[in-house]
Symmetry: C3
Subunit: 168 residues, 3 copies
């Protein structure tokens, strides 16, 4: 028989783990260049933004990537898959410092996490820091499990190396 | 009905998660430059040290930062907030590999973790590794939750870039 | 009284945590240069491989390190401890994005995780990215707890800095 307090901590822990697993699968889809699997982690009317910390702090509605709705996210993937620049690199995400911020009345979940994306370009031998920043998320539950309703990726780098806009 | 073994594992897991969350909030306070919130994560007679692995292995009582008591930690924050050098940078902590080492007779908790602090300077476009190392901690329980009684930050870098002593 | 669903999630979470702890201890043994402790994390007929992503994707049976059985792993440690090159560096592992893939009929557990190994050489002041990649693992249960039956370390870097083959 567990105390109500333990039950509450346990529920928080299970939720934390569920979101952590989501982020791990999200990272794996991008690292393994399974972009179609990545798209499926968003709901139809999802908002996906990649913007600089500077812009985010000034609440400027601009970004390196700005997608309103899954169709726009899907379009970006089509475009990426056609470019010759996407393939010749390896990316590796490390996501940490997950913080579950709370649950809204409608069941939506707010969370944030830090991310580091490391990159290996095929014409350079060493690994480099491609992008570092934080995710600011809204998740919702669907019949397929958690899905992203909103992910704002706020990067710290002032300049993201190479102009190519790769999802993070 | 759970077995005593499962109960024990569960208790260990909940404690692990509690300390992990503490570290996440600690990192967020520093990353978002909320230094006053950072100070509040220590108890009044807390010991806070940032020292090199070399010094730590020789048990030399010196450090880049050496603070006995919260008042000294607070003083450092006042000093930092007055310098012009603190602001023009973004820091991003990634804390991982948490290991809860055990509970002492008085309820104090010993733990360690690895940390990576990434830095973006405002006059340089790329992100760099500012400091890597490990935390060696003693936590205690207060009415406000876990607080640090001791945090020894032992960094691997032989030379920490730029002379400024930023808490990690 | 918990629902079967919660029980199942809880069991998954406990297993996840158990493997995460294993990885943390594995990393600590290497970071603290306790190579003999590292060897003890493998079963007698363990397979340990460090290979490039390129080779792994082409399923080439070659690697920077290729060890069939604990005796070969042990031999490598003896060799390393005799070289003058091993000591003058600090390594720091950050392991994240653990994914437990499933349990086989015989109780073996499959899992993967991402790793970043940071390095500080004693004749250079700054920390560098030594190796980034992913672990592809098979664990089994022994009387001493989880042990590695197989660990394939697949690194993304095209060229690992300095020829020395350090376990990761």
């Amino acid at each position: 028989m567990q105390s109500p307090d333990t039950e509450r901590h346990l529920a928080a822990l299970l939720l934390h783990h569920e979101i952590e697993l989501f982020n791990t699968r999200y990272a794996a889809a991008l690292d393994e260049q399974r972009l179609q699997d990545w798209v499926e982690l968003f709901v139809d009317d999802a908002f996906y933004l990649v913007t600089s910390r500077e812009n985010a702090e000034q609440r400027l509605p601009v970004g390196l990537i700005y997608s309103e709705g899954k169709a726009m996210i899907q379009d970006r993937v089509f475009a990426l898959e056609k470019t010759a620049m996407f393939a010749p690199r390896y990316l590796r995400h490390v996501i940490g410092n997950l913080l579950v911020l709370g649950e809204e009345a409608n069941g939506d979940l707010r969370a944030q996490a830090n991310y580091v994306v490391l990159q290996v370009l095929f014409d350079r031998p060493d690994a480099t820091l491609h992008q570092i920043g934080s995710y600011h998320d809204v998740f919702c539950r669907t019949v397929d499990g958690l899905r992203l309703k909103e992910r704002r990726c706020v990067y710290d780098n002032l300049l993201v190396p190479n102009a190519l806009c790769i999802p993070v």
